[in-house]
Amino acid sequence: MSFFDTVRIAFRALLKNKMRAVLTIIGVVIGIAAVTTIVSIGQGASKLVSGEFEALGTNVILVFPGQTRRGGARQSGAPTLTTADADSIGTECPAVLAASPIVGTAGQIIYGNENWNPKQMQGVGQDYLTVRNWELEAGGFFSNSDIESNAKVCVIGQTLIPKLFRTVNPMDEMIRVNNVPFRVIGILGKKGANMVGDDQDDVVLMPHTTVRKRLNGSPLDNVGIIMVSARGTNQMGEAAKQIETLLYERHEIGPSEEPDFSVQDTTEIAATLGIITGTLTLMLSAIAGISLLVGGVGIMNIMLVSVTERTREIGIRMALGARGKDILRQFLIESVVLSCIGGAIGLLLGTGASMCANVLINIYKPGTDWPMIVSVPAAVVAMGFAAAVGVFFGYYPARRASKLDPIDALRYE
């Protein structure tokens, strides 16, 4: 019997029991839809991560104080980095473009009778904007003398303007940060949300000296993080090495001793995040795959019922000259047709669900570029998977049908 005839007969047989065919297909539809949705969201997530890191500037290196990464576990320790460290990294390492210390703080900002708690309040150095590759929209940035004199000046992000100033031009206005008055001398350009969805424009930048002495009240000259940018992506490794050598020297650490700082370039973080999203996607796909398995068992169940019901038909076909393999093929194709229809519908549903997820995430976090598209290879794999489910779960019932004895089958009531 030709392949075309077999497929036609399979369709005919399935149409005789439409309700049953539809219910059987639903199992596969759910499985394939779940897998494609999760894979496309996962692929989108890893694209998002790598995209964000490119936007941040792939050249960024972070130096953390007092941390070791022995055995993968990071321990926070003493505040060992100083502003002097940051300055010498910026001036003495040839592969480094710029470096800025970062001192974190938190609190409330008041302007007139409005108040706001920004996500980020940071004391930074004068080269911070160079490190972050960030432009000013208006005004200027604080100078070296502002830093030396602990000047009470600040630069604000875009988000603060509607929150505090409404229609007033913020330039040269006075705001109170934890009751210390600061003058706004600059406004940052728009940066958008970062990869975790945090608004990067919800920020106030002040001289690190001012933050440490006037806001944090710390007598020590230490900094939270030193943020460094290398001269190019290809100089990242070189820059990291130079920073390490320099800090070993400055902190008088012997070659065998453990350093009191750690250097991390963002590509490394990106790679780690990529692994995390990849693993998560894989895990969720496996869970979704279980539903596909359940769908397959459903097909097997229905095919077994179908074989029993159609024992007589099998007997008739055998009496007319059908060989075992003709019967095997007939039932196998029937289950593959079932699973492939389910796969196709599931694929469409999965694509739709991915698109919906895309829309939803943009409603929840506008401007997030999370590209959730079902790629062509993913679709091909999904269809292949569906067909494989049909073959795998259809084989046993089909084989059982092909092994029937023609006389017994003909007598079956």
Partner: protein, 244 residues
């Protein structure tokens, strides 16, 4: 060489504790173009003999040569091929596929044989339906046809691959006497005009009388083999238990 040569054919069903001898020993020859009725009481082994001749069953002992080829040693696929090419079956309950048109039922044997184009398949099936007088009912499903019409579709299906032997297992068992006569007439025509070998199992004496040769079975053995139906009838009605 005869068309069918049976040599000491036996069929034993092993039911574990008991062994049932459905055919004790059958040695017989059937020539091309014969018209044979197999009669006998229930359990006499006529159905087993029929299934054996029809290559649906395999004897447990002996030799069965069909057209010179030994069937006993054939595997399933080879026997399926023989059934497709050489044999046509007609059953008591017609055994048509439900919800499948008459035409498609008749096309079935052509699908399992050597590759035939869809057009040729259709043409041959239509021609066969025409021969049994159902050309205008080709698109009807079995449920839309009368018993006699269904049996004629089954006969068309049995003959579409131009077999040399037509086998009927109680072919008139589910038909009224009028349609029975029509079907019997069809068998006779096929045998006389087209030289098809016809072998029928039947309880119906009218059917048996129509055959040219009658084999009477009892307890798995052929007790009478005659061209005179009166002798066959006597052998059938003779009950050995009533002797002495």
């Amino acid at each position: 060489m005869a068309l069918i040569e049976l040599d000491d054919v036996r069929r034993v069903y092993d039911l574990g504790e008991v062994k049932v001898h459905a055919l004790r020993t059958v040695t017989r020859q059937i020539e091309l173009g014969e018209y044979i009725a197999l009669i006998g009481p229930s359990g006499s082994g006529k159905s087993t003999l029929m299934n054996t001749l029809g290559c649906l069953d395999r004897p447990t002992h002996g030799s069965y040569r069909l057209d010179g080829e030994e069937v006993v040693t054939m595997n399933r696929d080879q026997r399926a091929k023989i059934r497709n090419k050489q044999l046509g079956f007609v059953f008591q309950n017609f055994n048509l596929l439900n919800r499948t048109s008459a035409l498609e039922n008749v096309e079935l044997p052509l699908m399992y044989g050597p590759r035939v184009s869809a057009r040729e398949r259709r043409d041959r099936a239509m021609e066969m339906l025409g021969k049994v007088g159902l050309a205008d009912r080709y698109h009807h499903h079995p449920s839309q046809l009368s018993g006699g019409q269904q049996q004629r579709v089954a006969i068309a299906r049995a003959l579409v691959n131009r077999p040399s032997i037509l086998m009927g297992d109680e072919p008139t068992g589910n038909l009224d006497s009028k349609t029975s006569r029509e079907v019997i007439e069809l068998f006779r025509e096929l045998n006389e005009l087209q030289d098809i070998t016809v072998i029928l199992v039947t309880h119906d004496q009218n059917v048996a009388r129509n055959a040219k040769r009658t084999l009477v079975l009892r307890d798995g053995e052929i007790v009478e083999d005659t061209i005179d139906f009166r002798l066959a009838k006597a052998a059938l009605e003779h009950d050995p238990a009533l002797e002495e």
